[in-house]
């Protein structure tokens, strides 16, 4: 046992020691952030049932409030829905006609369809970004096969990408996070750009061609980006092309931003897609000579200078 003086000296040393440890943790966070985030993901993964339990009263209250508000505005809501239904019926006819035409054209072209993507739906458990980050933790259940890089969409458009995976949860970096960089394609000007998050609700467009600037109001979709090394090798999924992101808008002259279609403020139900077709290195071109691996030992050929080619060779 320590003496009273020893214990007092130890007590005085504790606070400086803890300060040193905390500064060490700050340094670890700056240099090895994934290590800390891995630990936090494990804790959040273990606490996910508790999070669901704690959010239950809030979501029940929100449902009740929505029902009550709906009851008060029943007549107006019915009129709005009738008008919307009539409009949607017209769009349904157009969609059916276009689908038939599309099927006919694909049949003529002997189109090979892409693999249907598998997806996992989940509720948002909690915010996982802190003060400056924009990311959420999603409950996807046990036994999922999601990888970092898989895309997350809500009902309207692209929401983000998976950055960390746990046993029951995945962490999704939203497209307006400071660290988010998404390759996008602009549908009207046919240009390419990078959509960079900056913490604001509207991610910026950067690295577009200066002679082909984004046009106000044009639609922004994702550009295909193969997985580095392929899904089987790398453990990081690629980005599929053609997913709806939003529309271009100029907040200030010369600084185009994207107004996202997805609800970034309060995401609730999110689907995480597993697009296998974005993970290949490129199609096998017909007639392309496959690369043969180099032979382990090159056979020594006899060197015969100035030999005339025989007929039929060369």
């Amino acid at each position: 046992m320590l003496s009273i003086q020893g214990r007092q000296a130890l007590a005085k040393l504790m606070l400086p020691l803890f300060f040193v440890l905390s500064i060490g943790l700050v340094m670890l966070g700056l240099t090895r952030r994934p290590v800390v985030d891995r630990l936090r993901m494990d804790v959040a993964d273990a606490l996910s049932p508790a999070y669901r339990l704690m959010a239950a009263p809030g979501s029940a209250l929100a449902d009740l409030r929505r029902d009550l508000v709906g009851l008060t505005a029943l007549a107006g809501e019915n009129a709005r829905l009738r008008a919307e239904n009539a409009k949607l019926r017209r769009w349904y006819d157009v969609a059916v006609a276009l689908a038939n035409e599309n099927a006919q054209l694909k049949a003529n072209l002997h189109w090979i369809p892409d693999n249907a993507p598998s997806f996992v739906s989940g509720h948002v458990l909690r915010d996982a970004g802190g003060l400056y980050g924009r990311s959420v933790l999603l409950a996807v259940g046990e036994g999922h096969t999601l990888l970092p890089g898989d895309v997350a969409l809500d009902a309207a458009g692209l929401l983000g990408r998976v950055t960390e995976t746990g046993d029951r949860t995945v962490r999704i970096l939203l497209i307006n996070d400071e660290a988010s960089r998404i390759p996008v394609m602009l549908t009207a000007s046919h240009g390419n750009a990078i959509m960079a998050g900056d913490g604001s609700p509207y991610p910026r467009l950067i690295y577009y061609a200066q002679d082909n600037r984004p046009v106000e109001g044009e639609r922004v979709i994702t550009a295909e980006q193969p997985a580095p090394g392929g899904r089987a090798h790398g453990g990081f999924a690629g980005m599929p092309g053609g997913l709806v992101v939003g529309t271009v808008h100029y907040l200030h002259p010369g600084s185009p931003v994207v107004v996202p279609e997805a609800s970034l403020d309060h995401p609730d139900i999110i689907r995480v897609f597993n697009y296998m077709n974005a993970d290949h290195d490129g199609p096998q071109a017909p007639g392309r000579v496959p690369l043969t691996p180099p032979m382990p030992v090159a056979p020594a050929l006899p060197f015969i200078p100035f030999q005339k080619p025989m007929r039929g060779q060369g």
């Binding site: 007590a11 504790m14 606070l15 803890f18 300060f19 440890l21 905390s22 500064i23 060490g24 943790l25 700050v26 340094m27 670890l28 966070g29 700056l30 952030r33 800390v36 985030d37 630990l39 936090r40 804790v43 959040a44 606490l47 508790a50 999070y51 704690m54 959010a55 809030g58 929100a62 948002v124 458990l125 909690r126 915010d127 996982a128 970004g129 802190g130 003060l131 400056y132 980050g133 990311s135 400071e178 660290a179 913490g199 309060h266």
Partner: protein
Amino acid sequence: MVTHRLNPEIHPGIAPRPTLRRRLDMAMRALMPSLFVVVSMVILSADLGLPGQAELSFALATGTVFFWSAHRPASMTAVMTFCIGLIGELLGFGPPGVLLFSLLVMHGVAHLWRYGLSRISFLFAWALLGALSLVLSLFGWAIACIGSLTFLSPVPSLFQMAVTIGVYPTLSALFSWARRTVADPEQA
């Protein structure tokens, strides 16, 4: 330390028997502030739909550590502060180490100046907490900027400071009552 009226001891030297139940009661009362912070951090890390949950979590933790380190250091020792900070670091997703460092600074300052804090009025203590929360929030902002190698907006940090200053009077009133009643180990 703030002097407060204790019950007059009719028979000094005679104390209740230190049974297991009483010792547990005393330990729980001493741990009450730490448990309050940990439970509030766990609850505020869930998706409750409240605006500014991360800021509120920081405000509750720093306010609690500041109050108890100044007014009853035995209920908020350096070890307890460190443990609270570590749990907060594991529950949050902010820049690592910032919350832990902030809590230790709050504890260090409040513990060092506890005699002075007991003599000055509440307003001065509140102003000291505000100044500390400003410095620590800007420290968190600087670390976040260095971590992302970009110039981030300091508005979230200033909002966190405002929440910390705004919450403290309510916390202080609650803890002043708790210090005399439910969190007083002498009343076990």
